[in-house]
Assembly symmetry: C2
Homo-oligomer: 255 residues x 2
């Protein structure tokens, strides 16, 4: 079972996205795609006069911004990805967490920051998900969940990928791949040849203490170590070319 | 098996929509919801500077307008309906035709009018659809399909409802309900008490010849007679209160 999360510039670059989806289609066996939103939600928000706000790399989601991310993530991006996968003979089906109650979350209750309509994953509907997978469906998740009471919530796509991986690790050997525009976690953010081939908790703590890791990478790596400690077999971070080639350079995360 | 299409002002009125979804949730047995787009796609198009074009009651869908309808129909409206149905303990799952290749269409090739990215339904993936229904899933379809080659297409929601009804009529006794803000097909469009209780092909031809039927109703009724001739058991058009009450006044369509 492979869970592939694609994000960053892949989503915004039609040529890269097409290549990535073609590579994803060639992967044998059960698989799930999770996609982030790229820059189009921000662009759409700006074009209708909203000003996006971020705290610690996370978007603050007021009611108007929630409408935008639902439209863009669950509508435009998700359905275009699904249609492209279908053209690649992959029987993709696009989901938010509300669909089939596949991912239920709860509105984040932070002591000092009001994140707005942001959800933290509470429960994956593992029975339905495994049922869909065994019917040959390839689920494609966007970064929208719901609270079960009628409210859609914006949820970090990395977290969705890691929560799905954890939930499925009771039933499958799960490999989790985070694909983005860089070849992996870098020692030097400016130097693409400085890929850290393996990162374990000890090295991670050291790099964090030295502030040698880009702040945007920290929630991603926190998710990784959390997933590994909860049963996920293997995690790799790197360029989407790793979907095609198992030997391509990337970062492997180990406990 | 009931297939309910909701459209018109129901979609744009949050209170009406909530009531309608609560009523829909109470229907026993297999069911499918198909929703139109209401006015929000037009509003969004206007807010980003697009000018919507209509010919014979159908939207002309250029590339920019396709993006808008995908966002609004498959994203905003579909996911909000699904989340609300989940809150009503209905295990809804939202679909475009691309999802699971459930509805494949082909780009309309009209001799004189270029409709743009508009699709006419070619094939319903009946195996997957019946499989989902037998798992207790309640499908919620928006009015977006795909051509199987990666292109999403805008498709009339009434047609989607009728094509689903026809495809399912080989396996189920299918009742098709078209719900909107009026109590049925009216003799006098200005008088809600002038409901035509039963309309058959003979009466329909007569009313059409007399131009006594509102032009927006013609594609709907054409769909109805087509569906009945292809095996659908029963069709009713009326206010969504008929979902709650089998005896409420509405128009029944007969061959």
């Amino acid at each position: 079972m492979r869970i592939i999360k694609i994000g960053g510039n892949i989503i915004d670059n039609q040529r890269e996205l097409s290549q990535c989806l073609a590579d994803f289609s060639k992967i044998k066996g059960s698989k799930i795609l999770v996609h982030g939103g790229g820059k189009s939600a921000t662009k759409m928000a700006e074009s209708i006069g909203l000003i996006p706000q971020m705290i610690e790399g996370r978007r603050i989601t007021d009611a108007a911004m929630l409408e935008v991310v639902v439209m863009i993530y669950a509508g435009q991006i998700n359905k275009n990805i699904v249609a492209q996968l279908q053209a690649n003979s992959t029987n993709a089906m696009g989901f938010s967490g509300a669909d089939g109650n596949l991912i239920q979350s709860e509105k984040r209750n932070h002591p000092s920051i009001d994140y707005g309509f942001v959800g933290d994953v509470k429960k994956v509907n593992i029975d339905l998900l495994t049922n869909l997978l065994s019917s040959g469906i390839v689920p494609v998740f966007c970064a929208i969940t719901h609270d079960g009471k009628g409210q859609l919530l914006n949820t970090n796509a990395d977290t969705i990928a890691s929560e799905l991986a954890i939930a499925l690790s009771d039933f499958f050997d799960v490999t989790l791949n985070y694909c983005f525009e860089k070849p992996g976690v870098l020692f030097d953010a400016e130097d693409d040849s400085s890929v850290i081939l393996t990162i374990n908790q000890e090295l991670y703590s050291k790099l964090k203490a030295e502030k040698a890791i880009h702040s945007g990478m920290i929630p991603k790596l926190d998710n990784c170590f959390n997933s590994l400690s909860k049963g996920v077999q293997k995690i790799k971070i790197g360029h989407h070319s790793m979907l095609q080639n198992d030997d391509s350079i990337c970062t492997t995360i180990e406990l």
